[in-house]
């Protein structure tokens, strides 16, 4: 296996959704950690490095946007790619948030785990996808 970045943190309060997303990411070759809320995620990030973070929007105590805002205030996490999953796309100003918090993609529930795997792949293995694009007609 090449030494490409492949550590993903999935922050999602619904255990079922967290499980199924992690399951699919692992099968695609990523190393996955699960966090059931942003507090746990922040704690994990103190000790471990992640190449990408996928977070839900609606969570108790701290929602996804608040979580990302806190991340971006920490110099260590300013550039880590973040993917925001939400069931409330109509309630948030996606474009503004993506610019403000440097979110590389928003996906709206219900989405397919395969779709998410592809999004993560395209972000973390750009060379491979570029090659695929080159090869496909």
């Amino acid at each position: 296996m090449q030494a490409s970045p492949n550590r993903v943190l999935v922050v999602e309060d619904s255990r079922a959704i967290n499980e199924v997303l992690s399951f699919n990411l692992k099968r695609a070759g990523f190393e996955v950690e699960q966090a059931l809320n942003p507090r746990i995620a922040l704690e994990l990030m103190e000790h471990e490095d992640f190449d990408l973070i996928s977070t839900d929007f609606q969570m108790p105590e701290m929602n996804g946007v608040e979580f990302i805002r806190e991340l971006r205030q920490d110099a260590r996490f300013v550039d880590v790619p973040v993917l925001l999953c939400t069931a409330k796309k109509y309630e948030i100003d996606e474009d503004q948030l993506m610019d403000e918090l440097n979110i590389f993609q928003c996906v709206c529930k219900p989405f397919s785990p395969q779709e998410m795997v592809q999004i993560v792949q395209s972000k973390l293995t750009p060379a491979a996808t570029a090659l695929e694009a080159e090869l496909s007609p």
């Binding site: 619904s14 199924v20 099968r27 409330k88 219900p110 989405f111 397919s112 785990p113």
Partner: protein
């Protein structure tokens, strides 16, 4: 034909022509007799002149007789043309020939037509006079406020509903007062001053006027139209003011419901789709994993199905069509079934669940399924909104002629502001701890309706962060 009203009249032209012809004949006769050599011309010359004169006079009489009516018609038509108005009366003329007869017939038609028009005008005048009273009466019967104002918004007329809407004494005379001053002054999205004045020259416009910060304080909708006076646009405005509070509240509720419903539908859908896709695309899942994935799909499908049931119940409630199927029911057995249903939920969260059911409960005439659903709602809520390792107490006993059932928890509690709203359809607390748990906002509304239909009542006491107590009371018949 009458383009030269100054030209001489027909009568004058005829006389002039007649005189010209007569003079010509006389002169011709005189010349003929003077030039004739015969001696007898001296005798017959003057005679011929005399005879021709008599002839001319006779002809003039005949001509006057025959041309008279035509000249009379000519005179009247000239008069009509000179005045340039349609209201000159035409007079009948002595009837002596077909022309005068035809004229008289036409004159008669015109005269009767004119008198009909006069009658019509008078009828319209008297009608519009009585209409003023009639329409005011009509306006007073309407539930909407109606006002007629001038361009500046000064009231000319107002119906009694307007006084009621604006909270003014129903006998008060509003004439001469400014509509803008009478409208509620608290206005969030429209300037009332602007609303009740000319309306920027537009023929019609609509404004929304809020009575207070909250929708429930009241919302009025004012429609302004330019009044038409017959076919002309007048400077008066007619205002229709309607209380749309209920409509606004219903809209708000619908929006809230859509948000809740979208979330409630999307989460289980997301799970079902995600697990089904994973099952389909992964070839090497072991049996245990397959089973686990299927269980999740199943339970999420059940969650969707429950939500649809709740929606249908609410739909029935709304239509007033929810009916009870009453049977004599063994209350103890019913309560046991309810407890068994909610126990797993309590165990999952390690909640201490205590049920104190009096051993001597009467048999009641109940809709068993609906009462069970109502109690499952109350106990399910207690489990949902109580943190892990909390406690829930379920107490049932007869008190006087009533059966009293209490559900008491040590949960998140409900704030004082939200407490009066808990039985409203689609109401969901703003508390993040509550938002986190799935819920349609329909359970308590349903429970309340079921209890009401049984002739009972439901009360709630709560303290934030301490817990909530619901008391459900059913009459023992």
């Amino acid at each position: 034909m009458f383009s030269h009203p100054t030209s001489p009249s027909l009568k004058r032209r005829l006389s002039a022509n007649f005189l010209l012809c007569g003079t010509f004949i006389l002169v011709a006769l005189l010349l003929a007799s003077m030039l004739s050599p015969a001696a007898e011309t001296f005798v017959f010359g003057p005679m011929a002149v005399a005879i021709s004169l008599v002839g001319l006079i006779a002809m003039s009489i005949v001509l006057r007789r025959t041309a008279g009516p035509v000249c009379e018609i000519d005179t009247q038509l000239r008069k009509l043309a000179e005045t340039n108005r349609g209201d000159v009366a035409l007079d009948p003329i002595p009837e002596s020939d077909p022309i005068s007869a035809a004229w008289n017939r036409m004159q008669g038609l015109v005269a009767s037509r004119r008198s009909l028009e006069k009658l019509e005008t008078r009828i319209n005048e008297s009608l519009s006079a009585s209409d003023a009273g009639g329409s005011l009466h009509l306006l007073d019967s309407l539930p909407d406020g109606i006002a007629v104002t001038d361009r500046d918004g000064t009231i000319k007329r107002a119906n009694s509903a307007l006084r009621v809407l604006l909270g003014i004494d129903t006998e008060a005379d509003l004439t001469g007062r400014k509509l803008a001053e009478l409208l509620p002054q608290h206005s969030t999205n429209t300037d009332t001053e602007d609303a009740a004045s000319s309306g920027n020259g537009q023929r019609a416009s609509a404004y929304e006027i809020h009575r207070g910060e909250e929708l429930a304080d009241g919302v009025l909708k004012a429609f302004r139209y330019t009044l038409f006076d017959g076919e002309r646009e007048s400077s008066d405005q007619i205002w229709l003011i309607r209380d749309i509070t209920q409509q606004k509240l219903a809209d708000e509720m619908r929006t809230q419901f859509l948000q809740t419903a979208t979330h409630e539908l999307r989460t289980p859908l997301m799970n079902i789709c995600a697990y089904a896709e994973t099952l389909e695309l992964t070839d090497d899942l072991d049996v245990e994993q397959q089973k686990q994935f299927c269980n999740i799909i199943n339970s999420e499908a059940m969650r969707l199905s429950r939500f649809v049931d709740e929606l249908l119940d609410v739909n029935r409630m709304e239509a007033g069509a929810m009916s009870l199927t009453l049977h004599e029911t063994n209350v103890e057995r019913l309560l046991q079934e309810v407890i068994e249903k909610v126990r797993p939920q309590m165990q999952q969260k390690k909640i201490t669940f205590e049920a104190n059911i009096s051993p001597k409960l009467p048999k009641l005439n109940l809709d068993k399924d609906k009462i069970a659903a109502a109690l499952v709602n109350l106990l399910g809520n207690a489990a949902k909104y109580t943190p892990n390792e909390g406690s829930v107490k379920f107490t049932v006993d007869t008190v006087g002629a009533e059966l009293e059932m209490q559900v008491e928890d040590t949960g998140y509690g409900i704030s004082e502001e939200e407490l009066p709203k808990v039985f409203e359809r689609f109401f969901r607390s703003d508390d993040d701890r509550v938002r986190e748990v799935s819920g349609s906002g329909l359970g308590l509304a349903f429970t309340n309706e079921v209890v009401r239909l049984h002739g009972g009542r439901i009360d709630v006491h709560s303290e934030l962060n301490r817990g909530t107590k619901f008391t459900l009371v059913l009459p023992v018949r």
